[in-house]
């Protein structure tokens, strides 16, 4: 694990463990990206609920209401990430219950390979708190999660063994 100790929660967690709702976008059938992220987040001491592939936005929003995560992480690699992300964030921010929940998106967002600065800025402008194109690594996501304001004082424990 990089950084110092487990990542701390931003808000709602009662037991001091940050909760991340992990999901893909409606069109994306890939799953290993989600498995990878779930493992990596769990190693960082985070509790993860993984909604899997091809998640309708309505199901994502229901899961947010049901579980009240500290952060939502969207992963998509099929190349439709920019249009799907635009649509998703519109609905996410329009709903009062998810308006103030941090949400990030990452993966192979387009099909051009290299990251498209213009479209990344666009996703941020529409409401994503951060965008992680394919040339970023997990450590950057972990640093982002660490940078979120913390409200729970309790020290956090890692839910997995040592990670190198």
């Amino acid at each position: 694990m990089t950084g110092s100790g487990p990542v701390r929660p931003t808000g709602s967690a009662e037991d001091g463990v940050m909760r991340v709702l992990l999901s893909s976008v409606p069109s994306d059938a890939h799953t290993w990206n989600l498995v990878f992220l779930q493992l990596a987040l769990e190693q960082a001491g985070i509790r993860v609920r993984n909604l899997g592939a091809c998640v309708p936005t309505s199901s994502l929003l229901d899961a947010v209401d049901d579980w009240r995560p500290d952060v939502v992480v969207i992963s998509t690699v099929n190349g439709h990430g920019y249009p799907d992300g635009r649509h998703l964030i519109g609905e996410f921010r329009a709903r009062p219950s998810s308006r103030s929940i941090p949400i990030v998106i990452g993966g192979k967002l387009g099909i051009a390979g290299a990251s498209d600065r213009h479209r990344i800025r666009e996703l941020v402008r529409l409401g994503f708190d951060a965008v992680f194109p394919d040339d970023s690594d997990f450590v950057e996501l972990e640093s982002f999660l660490r940078s979120l304001p913390t409200t729970t004082a309790g020290a956090m424990r890692s839910e997995r063994g040592p990670a190198c």
Binding site: T2, D137, F138, C164
Partner: protein, 246 residues
């Protein structure tokens, strides 16, 4: 990879492992190394690495025990930081013709050489994946690529390392991680010092270069393979054997 590099070297209190650790420290790596049991030579190695300016973590670690490997790596990472390089050198021999080979001799060699290598690769590879880069070199043997009578256990373990490494190389290539194998022939170490004078002379007859190899020569190849100079090499088993397998 930028900044100071960090390597884990197993079986580094002597022989090839020691030469590798010293060579990498000379090249500016910080080093965590382990060995079977605490010894004078381990402290010697630690001092020698520190003299090269490396930050060093060392401890005895039973490589056959997955939990012990996890604990060693957790401690090493806390002290030194996340690693980008792994060199597996820990190995033992228990030679015997198969008709006389005990189950214990078979298991010990498989457990240390093959399972030990697997334990370190498995514990470290996810970290390398998260950081999208790194290099692994597993030290095997020419016994893993050609016949070696009285070493069926050792041959099986080393051939296992070769296969495991090739498959792992393909599994993690898209994460910028390279996995290679170095297969040494007759190298002048404690392990080969146990060979009788007669057997030694006989083996040398079949080495086209006419001499045993030195640990530093193997370390040279390992240091190349973990460096950016070898950035297009992965999944290979490179023999360093004076031509003995030709």
């Amino acid at each position: 990879m930028s900044g100071r590099r960090r390597a884990v070297v197993t079986g580094a209190s002597r022989g090839i492992g020691r030469a590798v650790a010293e060579r990498l420290a000379d090249e500016g790596f910080d080093i965590a190394f382990c060995y079977r049991s605490e010894s004078e030579s381990a402290r010697d190695v630690a001092e020698s690495l520190s003299r090269s300016g490396a930050r060093v973590h060392h401890a005895a670690c039973d490589v056959t025990d997955a939990d012990a490997v996890g604990a060693f790596l957790g401690e090493a990472e806390r002290e030194i930081g996340p690693f980008d390089t792994l060199v597996n050198c820990a190995g033992v021999v228990r030679d015997n013709p198969m008709v006389r080979m005990g189950i214990e001799e078979w298991n010990t060699v498989l457990d240390t050489n093959l399972n030990g290598t697997f334990h370190f690769c498995r514990s470290m590879v996810f970290g390398l994946m998260k950081r999208k880069g790194g290099a692994i070199v597993n030290v095997s043997s020419v016994a893993g690529v050609s016949a070696s009578p009285t070493q069926t256990n050792y041959s099986a373990a080393k051939a296992g390392i070769n296969g495991m490494s090739r498959s792992l190389a393909k599994e993690v290539a898209s994460f910028g991680i390279r996995v290679n194998v170095v297969a040494p022939g007759f190298i002048d170490t404690d392990m080969t010092a146990e060979v009788s004078e007669k057997a030694r002379a006989k083996t040398l007859e079949s080495v086209p270069l006419g001499r045993v190899g030195e640990p530093y020569e193997v370390a040279e190849l390992v240091s190349y393979l973990v460096s950016e100079r070898a950035s297009y090499i992965t999944g290979q088993v490179l023999r360093i054997d004076g031509g003995i397998t030709l």
